[in-house]
Amino acid sequence: MSVLVVVECDGGEVKKSSLEVASYGSQVAQMLGTTATAIAVGEATEANLAKLGEQGIAKVLYDAEPRLKDFVNGAYTKLIATAAQKEDSKLIVLANSNIGAAVGSRLSIRLEASLATNVVALPKTDGGFSVKRGVFSGKAFADVELAGERKIIAVKKNSIEALHEEGKTAQVESFSAQLTDADFADAPKEVVMQDQAGGVLLPEADLVVSGGRGMKGPENWNLIEDLAKALGAATACSKPVSDVDWRPHHEHVGQTGITVSPNLYIACGISGAIQHLAGVNSSKVIVVINKDPEAPFFKAADYGIVGDVFDVLPKLTQAVKELN
């Protein structure tokens, strides 16, 4: 019985969130006295999969079926269920991503497993089996007891430190779930990727620069983008900004948008409504720049500058360039 870890790959690389998931899985495997096996989905290379040894993975299963390159709910669910049966896995760990949630919820029914999503810490196994997960849109946490013999855990991004044991490699095995055309019935007709400013995806980002209504208009977003580019950060925005179409909705961070938990979140001209804080308050360090010293966001911040974003942002960009 091994712990099965679902590893998402894109363009040959293992996603950062999946390195965290692999590290989570191998640490739980150690707690349970077993090993961790990964099943890779998406476009992967054998060399990058072998490097999962650095995250403590012993073995990687990979099905080279070309139609698995893009996410297909039916096919991915069957692939992972088949791998879980082969490995006799009682515990499956995946990312709390759009893929992980879609597949994990179907798997929980198919494998009669209990499921916890949005998990932020390693399980407690003294007596039962419980995990800490984020609830109330980032405003609180809950310790949740998982019942039954089989369990599935979806790990929130940036909540687990990825392991890096230099030089360790995993054994990569080819694996076939004998997928048929019927398993690809819900395959996408088309996949459209966004143009990302600076090429950093918001959900995966370590650093985020975000703008609110204080930016006064979409024509001023170059100030946000310049700082983001200098830092290698992703850009984001508050709900009012995406509501008036200054920025696309996929940049909207908050209670009804994306929840992010980067190492650094820089909020520019955002007052800090409770719904926005819910989306960012698990960030490690929060910086707030606002000309209103009474802006509620300052109460949730680690560093703050009371000043005009139009004056402060170019100075910050300049300082980053000088530092590099």
Binding site: S108, Q255, S282
Partner: protein, 246 residues
């Protein structure tokens, strides 16, 4: 077409979250409950599609005790035709999914819609569980939904982009913005909602698979360190040398 829209009853988005003294339950005192904001996209889009088709029904389903009825009536006022309340506390995602699947099986619905997740327990699980229980496809999270005859075209959000997916009814979709502009009830809707059918059904005997032991609030911040605007560059040095995040 027959639409089934699943709604949950959640604390208003401005709620300050607190718990009972033993940290075992959410403290409902003084809290205003609303239709889960994500579910509003599902509800409005179902009504729009029904109107575009010129026929069909939109049924609202909630798993909850009697105190959720004001929000069920609100959904009827927005434009749903009838409602079903499963008379039970929504114990966990699995329990709720079993209730929905049981209603869906009996009612023969073509399209089952719900929000991406509820803003209280943020499970993002029910859509997939219902799809798997019924053996039909799930598209989650969906940003766009159009119907042509029996075929739906959806945009599914993926990290960094979107997939265009086509599925035939019956199917499940979990909805999010920018699918539609959620409607609010008008006076006529509020008047007619009073007499629309609301059926109360007892739950199935399924047991939940997860249980909350305790709740906790995140640790409070230490307080903000202010840097003068003239010295803004100083912040970057602090972020590198003190916070060590860049």
């Amino acid at each position: 077409m027959k639409f089934l829209v699943c709604i949950s009853n959640v604390p208003d988005t401005t709620t300050k979250i607190t718990f009972t003294p033993d940290n075992k339950a959410f403290n409902k005192a003084g809290v205003q409950f609303v239709i889960n904001p994500w579910d509003e996209y599902a509800l409005t889009r179902a009504i729009e599609l029904k109107e575009a088709q010129g026929s069909g029904t939109v049924t609202v389903l909630n798993v909850g005790e009697a105190d959720t009825e004001p929000n069920i009536r609100k959904a009827l006022a927005i434009g749903a035709d009838d409602a079903i309340r499963i008379n039970a506390h929504p114990k966990d995602a699995f329990f709720v999914a079993k209730q929905i699947a049981s209603v869906a099986k009996e009612g023969g619905y073509d399209v089952i819609l719900m929000g991406k997740e509820s803003i209280d327990y943020n499970g993002f699980q029910v859509h997939g569980m219902v799809g798997e229980l019924l053996g039909i496809p799930t598209v989650a999270p969906a940003m766009k939904l159009d119907m042509s005859g029996n075929t739906a075209t959806l945009e599914r959000e993926i990290e960094g982009g979107k997939e265009i997916v086509e599925v035939n009814a019956p199917f499940v979709a979990s909805c999010q913005q920018p699918m539609c502009e959620p409607r609010i009830p008008n006076m006529r809707g509020i008047m007619t909602a009073r007499t629309k059918p609301l059926k109360v059904v007892e739950p199935t005997a399924d047991a939940p698979r997860t249980e909350v032991d305790t709740f906790a609030l995140p640790p409070a911040k230490q307080g903000v360190k202010l840097i003068a605007a003239e010295n803004a560059g100083e912040l970057i040095k602090l972020l590198r040398n003190e916070a060590k995040v860049i």
